[in-house]
């Protein structure tokens, strides 16, 4: 393999890892803004979002260059195409962090609500899912990605629980409707982030299984699980 190609592929991986850590930071910061009622944290998330958007464009360009100039085949080709899709998912995750930060900024202006303990828990699990999905992708580790799929069910259930509790809260005390709705939005945004992490994990598993099928001709025709 050409040395130049290897270097470009490594640069692409580095950009994806960087993008992933920006996305993780954005989620952590937006949740901190929400819990600690910190307007500056919320503003920082909005201000930093262009870093994520710029990386998406950088990755898009790198992908086109790699495809055009290096004409990769097989595993490398699949990796590069998946990288393009994943950077698109990470960009959406950045947008969700901005949504959470916007809710945090609203919440900070309103009277405090009793803490919703499941929200920081959801954020914790979701960040872990994202990190595992990206690790699984970079290191071609489908086992790591399977754990992501299991966590997605946990997040779905937590989201339903949180929304149910908040709706009940509004019913008891209509005065808190504004805060409660912002928390509902946050919970939904976290649930969407978990969905996007799951998309990434599924992609990794799909790639790994396509290779397995390819390498075991007798299993051909069996759909991936």
């Amino acid at each position: 393999m050409q040395r130049h190609f290897v270097a470009e592929l490594d640069a692409l991986k580095a950009d994806l890892i960087r993008m992933c850590s920006f996305a993780e930071d954005a989620i952590a910061e937006s949740i901190r803004a929400l819990l600690e009622r910190r307007q500056e944290s919320a503003e920082a998330v909005v201000k930093n979002d262009p870093r994520i958007n710029d990386l998406e464009i950088t990755i898009d360009h790198a992908v086109v260059d790699l495809l055009a100039l290096q004409q990769p085949v097989a595993t490398d080709l699949r990796f590069i195409l998946a990288a393009s899709k994943i950077s698109n998912d990470l960009e959406r995750i950045g947008d969700h962090a901005v949504n959470i930060a916007e809710s945090a900024a609203q919440v900070a202006k309103l009277p405090a609500l009793a803490p919703i303990v499941d929200i920081p828990r959801m954020a914790q699990i979701t960040k872990g899912m994202l990190r595992d999905a990206i690790d699984g992708f970079i290191h071609s580790n489908p086992t790591l990605c399977r754990a992501v799929l299991l966590n997605d069910d946990i997040i779905d259930n937590l989201n339903k629980k949180v929304v149910g509790e908040l709706v009940a809260l509004i019913r008891r005390d209509p005065a808190v409707v504004d805060q409660a709705l912002e928390y509902i939005r946050v919970s939904r945004n976290l649930e969407r982030v978990a969905d996007l992490a799951t998309n990434i994990a599924e992609e990794v598993i799909f790639i790994a299984e396509a290779q397995v099928v390819k390498h075991h001709v007798e299993r051909k025709g069996e759909p991936p699980a």
């Binding site: 262009p50 958007n53 710029d54 998406e56 464009i57 898009d60 992908v63 086109v64 495809l67 055009a68 004409q71 085949v73 097989a74 080709l77 699949r78 195409l81 393009s84 899709k85 698109n88 929304v163 709706v167 509004i170 019913r171 209509p174 409707v177 504004d178 709705l181 509902i184 939904r188």
Partner: protein
Amino acid sequence: MEPHLARELEALRGTLRAMSELVDAQLDTAYRALFEGDAGLAAGVMAREKEVNAFDTSIDAEAQRLFAIAQPVAVDLRLLMSVLTVNHQLERIGDIAVNIAERAAVLAPHRELLRAARLGEMAEIARIMMRDALESFLRADPALATRVLESDDVVDRLDRNAFRLLVAEMRRSGELIEPASHVMILSRHLERLADHATNIAEVTVFLVNARVVKHQAGAIGAH
């Protein structure tokens, strides 16, 4: 362009068109389930979701095959990349149709709330945006794509207004809290549908102008 590759790309475009027709039919059924309160239709949307996913997988696989065997460059390369992006967006629109259908049953007794929140209007605009975006992509029509980009603000505004109205309804009546929260989610889904249409329109502009309009809202149409 190599005549062989041209034929293959044309076939891929045809598959994409077939997929977009399926996704449009899914939205149509989901809308009817929701707005006509016919929850029975929702099951059909869920059942056909597999077909949408099958399209997604087969378009991805076909594009990958073309990358590998034809090693396209320049315009063909961009076109093939765009097909992948559009495919990805359509798959997500398919998910939105399912999400809409899933809420038809619980909202069947609350059609008045849907009307008050002007959800039908939003749904129609978002769907027209999606159709126009796909048409602009398939016919390489940047003027049509630009119109799609301009409509995105309208849907965003309707989403915000719906949110405000629904909060007011929740305050007014405890019984409306739960259905209103479902309508809020639907409003969000429609806003996302418009976003996906916008993404497709951006791809069209990119393909034609070979420049990135993403994340540069002010730059659209400016050369």
